[in-house]
């Protein structure tokens, strides 16, 4: 099993961007929320991976964040999708569906 999951390592890594965009599309999210959502999935990851990715997505203007005061502790960065981000998400999802459709058809 672990062998198979290893084989899909690079694929999961490449798809993490889509997974993160999708998670954020559900509404304003703070890094720990995103990590918690992903934790239950194959895309489980840590801050070490997520933060550089979020930072890149922001540079690409797919995401934006707001500082929000929290009751416990320092203010947090809450992320949301920009208009470009929403378009990108649609395109990425379309591409992903195309990929999986292709995969289905290959066996036929």
């Amino acid at each position: 099993m672990s062998n198979i999951s290893d084989k899909f390592g690079p694929l999961r890594k490449g798809m993490l961007e889509l997974a993160v965009l999708k998670t954020v599309s559900a509404g304003k999210a703070y890094a720990a929320d995103i990590l918690k959502k992903l934790e239950q999935t194959e895309f489980a990851t840590g801050e070490g991976t997520l933060y550089p990715l979020l930072s890149r997505l922001r540079r690409e203007q797919l995401l934006e964040y707001d500082w929000v005061e929290s009751e416990a502790g320092p203010p947090r960065k809450y992320y949301h999708l920009t208009e470009t981000g929403k378009k990108q998400l649609v395109e990425l999802e379309a591409y992903w569906h195309a990929l999986s459709e292709t995969m289905e058809k290959l066996g036929a």
Partner: protein, 377 residues
Amino acid sequence: MNKVTTINLNGKAYQLEEAGYDLLKKYLEQARKKLANDPDKDEILADFERAIAEKCEGHLHARKNVITEKEVQKIIDDMGPVEPADDKEQANAEDGPKTHPKRLYALREGAVIGGVANGLAAYFNIDVTIVRVLFVLLVFPTSGLMILIYLLLMLVVPVAETPEQKAELRGEQFTAQDVLQRAKEKYADISNKEHWQKVAADSQPALSGIGKVLQKLIRAVFVIVGIGFGIALGCLTAAWVSGLWWLAFGHLHLVDQLSTISVWTIATGVTAAYFIAALPLAGITVCLLKIGAGRPFGRQSARWLAAVASLWIIAIGVFAGTAIVTSGRISAYQSTHGYLTIDSHQICINDTLCPGGEWRASKPLLLPRAHYYYRMN
């Protein structure tokens, strides 16, 4: 027992076991290396710090304020390896430098005596030579008081030992990533732990020759005087205990005639008197010994001072109360009986008031102008 290191994460101090600190240091160092080409490197590292701070918070509660090595390992495992997100875009504008509260420390590097002038110079960001010249010049108009002030500062101002404290002295922000930055600049091979620790141990310079001798001498004087005060306190305590003993088991019939005053009132008065004298003595003793041992005074000391001072005021109140009650009763007794009885003597003030019988003149007892007479009971 593990040594603890304090670090500043996101503006809050956290105490880590030293082994845990080393782990965290290594993790952040690797993060910095891996993100070397990321234009948002600094922001991401700040995000890491925030995340680490939050995770640290989860391991702390009212009764636990140190994060163990195991917990740091868990935090690092949670964070996961640092994966740079490939990107070739340009960096954003950087934030301006922030100012942080300063704290005064003595700085031993390049010190002539105790590093006080050095620390003041760093604190006010002026040349140390100016501070030294000012110190020396001020000795004359203050008729030498400046020397005492210097010595006092040397004993009271803590010495900046860690890089954090040195940064605090200058009012700079200090974060774990600064350690790495500085470590990288200074030492090529930070990954060699032994080498790193050795360098860290060597980097604390000792006091200069004169300073060392002077410091030892002054501390010795403080300790000796402190011991003197301690002995005085011991004698006083012995007197108090024996006084209470005497009241309880001795055959002092001071009160038996004044049956309206209970032994408890007198015992309370004696105890209050003891506290009035003993509390300042104890305070002075502790301060002298603390200075002699080179321990700095902190917030804890202030709290102690407040507690002792309030106890002292209470003791004065209690003493005044018992004194008023006792003297009132004694004078009431004397005006009805004409004399007081202390032990086997009857004492009478002013012979016109003395009841019949043979009275001998005595030396003045309490009031210098009154005539005292006594007879054996």
